[in-house]
């Protein structure tokens, strides 16, 4: 059993396995780019499944629409994680040993090394050794006495290469762990806020339109802060392309919540608000037409409901503004007299026959084309309903009837048969905000930076060795030099040549420079 375990471990941690796993990881990640993903667009996934029959369902069962949370993707990266750990442990031990170790003993025959040089100098062996040591400052040195009276220095340099390599790999591990922690404690929510001084407070999941919690987030302990959206400005080029968006907001967090102090902030697309450990983003914007209904008994109700853009270029929007008759307590009565104003809104109206279209995304000439529906909105049916639409079932079953159809400009008013007046007062803007919380993302950044630094170091620095041997000879010393790059020979020849040159300059002052030494590469 132990042998089996050991063999499994060895197999798992070998470089060949790591390579295969890397390829599997690349392969496993790919479907996520080609197939629609639940996390990005659930609607698209449903459409895809519906239109691809059994094949779509099979892919669904095999988690192909949730690739990065799937069993098989997790399996690959967990195996890779183990492989990485298994590779790093022995290497770290080796590294620790090497950090204390001494440069290897001088080879017997330096002439067989890729870079070498031999010459005779007048200086004594100890002078040669001293000069060499001076020149090789910064290298790790080991001087040795050899059997035949010769002396030698082994020098090695470029230990940072392995340091960088280990930093890179450990930073990978750190990054994966930081990502995992992030998945536990992060949350993300989106909410529409009217840009008329409306407020949003991060007090619970119910304040959001959509909310996506991490695995360990139950929504009871969100970072408290409030945001008030005072105004929204958009500027468009004549082509209709957006130039800039800006929401003028005020926010309060921490102490400010108790003292009720608001601090201003200009929220823009590339500049989120960072407060209370959360980030607030400006995702998009839209229009909310303001309608006032004057009921036959004289009571007035004004609603400003966001309508959603159906065309991102022209901001032609659709929506439904819903009214309950005031002062009606009897549910059956109320269900007879509820009102809904649905239809299209155009920021810059163009009429194509009777059809309302929009020519420009900015508010130059706003208009609405509305249907007024009266009857039972179906609020008590128990089904959830979209704020952008009326429940079509109520219309089909005849419980919600159209009582008027009209195109209106701001200030226009219509009167229904029963005396109810509906006026289109104007338009307000809304912004779509996202609140994000990820306590570990700063660590992800730290590890990412370490990854690049480690990678750069390990690829730039070369581990290389150099040996100097001084053999006593008649009236001087035979000086032998040898060099070997441990990883990549390229470029070491020049450095070896420089070292040799400097040594000879030092030892043979009257030496002519004609016979400049260059390290030969073989």
């Amino acid at each position: 059993v132990i042998a089996l375990l050991r063999n499994t471990w060895r197999g798992l941690t070998s470089m060949r396995t790591a390579l295969v796993l890397l390829f599997l990881l690349a392969l496993a990640a790919l479907p996520g780019a080609l197939l629609p993903q639940r996390s990005l667009n659930a609607q698209k996934v449903d459409d895809y499944v519906a239109s691809h029959g059994w094949w779509g369902q099979l892919l669904d069962r095999l988690e192909f629409y949730n690739v990065y949370g799937s069993v098989w993707f997790s399996a690959v990266y967990l195996l890779l994680f183990i492989s990485l750990v298994g590779c790093l442990l022995p290497r770290s031990l080796d590294y620790a040993k090497a950090a204390r170790g001494k440069p290897v003993i001088t080879p017997r025959n330096l002439a067989r090394l890729p870079h070498h040089h031999e010459t005779t100098v007048d200086a004594t062996p100890s002078e040669v050794m001293a000069t060499a040591k001076e020149r090789l400052k910064g290298w790790r040195l080991q001087e040795r006495e050899e059997e035949d009276g010769a002396r030698s220095i082994s020098a090695e340099r470029g230990y940072l290469r392995e340091t960088g390599n280990l930093v890179f790999h450990f930073a990978m591990l750190g990054l994966i762990i930081a990502l995992a922690i992030g998945k536990m404690y992060q949350y993300e929510g989106q909410v529409v806020v009217l840009a008329n001084g409306s407020q949003f407070c991060n007090s619970g999941t119910l304040s959001y339109d959509t909310f996506r919690p991490g695995l360990r987030v139950d929504g009871t302990d969100l970072d408290p802060f409030c945001v008030k959206v005072d105004d929204f400005t958009a500027n468009f080029l004549p082509t209709g392309q957006a130039d800039y968006y800006r929401a003028d907001i005020e926010y309060q967090s921490g102490e400010d919540l108790t003292t009720n102090t608001w601090r201003p902030y200009k929220l823009e697309v590339n500049s989120p608000l960072r407060t209370a450990g959360d980030r607030v983003y400006l995702l998009s914007h839209g229009y909310a037409p303001v309608f006032t209904v004057t009921f036959p008994d004289g009571k007035k109700r004004t609603h400003t409901t966001q309508w959603r853009p159906v065309n991102q270029m022209t901001y032609l929007s659709e929506g439904a503004t819903k009214f309950d008759p005031p002062g009606v307590t009897d549910p059956a009565q109320r269900r007879q007299r509820q009102l809904a104003i649905t239809g299209l809104f155009a920021p810059t109206a163009v009429m194509q026959g009777d059809l309302l279209g929009s020519a420009f995304p900015d508010m130059r000439d706003p208009a609405v084309a509305i249907d007024v529906l009266k009857g039972d909105l179906g609020n008590e049916s128990g089904r959830g309903q979209s704020i952008y639409e009326v429940d079509q079932e109520m219309v089909d079953s005849g419980r919600l009837k159209r009582v008027a159809r009209e195109n209106m400009r701001p200030g226009d008013q219509i009167t229904l048969d029963d005396g109810t007046k509906i006026s289109f007062d104007g338009v307000q803007r809304w912004v779509y905000l996202q609140v994000s919380h990820d306590p570990s993302q700063v660590w992800v950044l730290v590890f990412a930076v370490l990854i690049v630094l480690g990678l750069g170091t390990s690829l730039v620095i070369k581990r290389r060795r150099l040996w100097v041997r001084a053999v006593p000879a008649d009236g001087g010393t035979v000086l032998l030099l040898g060099g070997l790059a441990r990883t990549d020979q390229a470029g070491y020849g020049e450095e070896f040549g420089r070292v040799t040159e400097d040594l000879l300059d030092e030892l043979v002052p009257e030496r002519e420079h004609a016979d400049a030494v260059t390290g030969r590469e073989t």
């Binding site: 470089m15 060949r16 790591a18 390579l19 890397l22 390829f23 990881l25 690349a26 990640a29 790919l30 996520g32 780019a33 080609l34 993903q37 996390s39 990005l40 690739v67 990065y68 993300e188 080029l237 082509t239 392309q241 957006a242 130039d243 800039y244 968006y245 823009e268 697309v269 590339n270 500049s271 989120p272 980030r279 983003y281 995702l283 996202q434 994000s436 990820d438 993302q441 992800v444 950044l445 990412a448 930076v449 990854i451 690049v452 990678l455 750069g456 690829l459 390229a490």
Partner: protein, 317 residues
């Protein structure tokens, strides 16, 4: 800030002439390759003659004619390099003028991105050329560049315009340029790897490729060094992208199609670097990995931009 139409059209002209210069340079490289190759065959024959005849006088004459032709091919080859440099200068001018015309970094859409990528690729090629005797590969390196620039100029051309709010960030300058540089550099080893593989596998139709000895040794080393150089740049580019995404989209990584394929390409190149340390994976197999990496990059540029809809799609392209 208005778009300067005059500068923008100057930029387009520079772009066009740069592509033209590259095409002519390609022809010259091709000429050198064709005639340089025949010289080698002739040289081989000459040796045979020399051995067979045993005399020295009969060999001299063919040797001279061979040398003359060799010189002309050599001159044409050097001319090709000069033309490439000329093309690069116009290429730089095209981008600079576009930047001046739009008052922003000239890599805000796919057309401009492709132009930067190709410029870096040709630049890398010139640097490699200074260090390694690989001029005869010029035509093969310029081929994808010319194809990319042609596609960019004809199909993906976008009129000079400001960018939308999401792109108005200094990260556009940093992230897109780093990614374009990384990808551009990686294009060169990718192409050389294809040639290397063809040479090693020796299919019948590939015999006219440059001599194996040069390609095997030099090209392989150039490939490795260029990839090793580009990998940290590309890594940094992806990380810059993540930082920007955190600022702009609300999360640093969200498996957007572009992000996913960038990750896939990164893993493939990481595998390439590891393959060098694994016996039996050097040479041919490493070349295959490099080609797969380049394929992932090109897939990311074209398929992901044009076919799938992700957050990286801006104004259509």
């Amino acid at each position: 800030m208005d778009i300067n139409q005059t500068l923008s059209s100057y930029s387009d002209w520079c772009y066009g002439i740069a592509v033209g210069a590259y095409v002519v340079a390609m022809l010259f490289y091709l000429y050198e390759q064709a005639f340089g190759y025949r010289r080698r065959v002739a040289a081989g024959k000459r040796e045979l003659v020399a051995v067979g005849a045993g005399g020295s006088e009969s060999v001299e004459e063919p040797e001279e004619t061979v040398l003359e032709r060799d010189n002309r091919a050599e001159r044409v080859g050097k001319l090709a390099v000069s033309l490439t440099v000329f093309g690069v200068m116009l290429h730089v001018a095209a981008l600079a003028l576009r930047g001046l015309a739009t008052h922003r970094a000239p890599w805000g859409n796919m057309y401009e991105f492709g132009a930067v990528l190709c410029l870096v690729a040709v630049g890398t090629w010139l640097v490699v050329l200074r260090k390694y005797p690989v001029r005869h590969l010029g035509v093969w390196v310029l081929l994808p560049v010319v194809v990319l620039m042609f596609l960019g100029g004809v199909l993906l051309y976008t009129t000079a315009a400001p960018v939308q709010p999401a792109l108005q960030s200094y990260w556009l300058v940093i992230h897109v340029f780093t990614i374009a540089s990384g990808s551009g550099i990686l294009l060169v080893p990718g192409v050389v790897s294809i040639l290397y593989l063809l040479k090693v596998r020796k299919p019948a139709w590939a015999t006219r490729l440059p001599a194996a000895d040069v390609l095997d040794q030099v090209a392989y080393r150039a490939t490795v060094r260029a990839t090793v150089f580009a990998f940290p740049i590309y890594t940094a580019g992806v990380i810059f992208g993540a930082i920007w995404a955190e600022e702009s989209w609300g999360r640093f990584w969200g498996w957007d199609p572009k992000e996913t394929v960038a990750f896939v390409a990164w893993v493939v190149y990481a595998a390439y670097l590891h393959s060098r340390a694994t016996a039996g994976w050097r040479g041919g197999r490493a070349a295959i990995i490099n080609i797969v990496g380049m394929a992932a990059m090109i897939f990311n540029l074209f398929f992901i931009n044009l076919v799938t809809a992700g957050l990286h799609s801006y104004a259509g392209v």
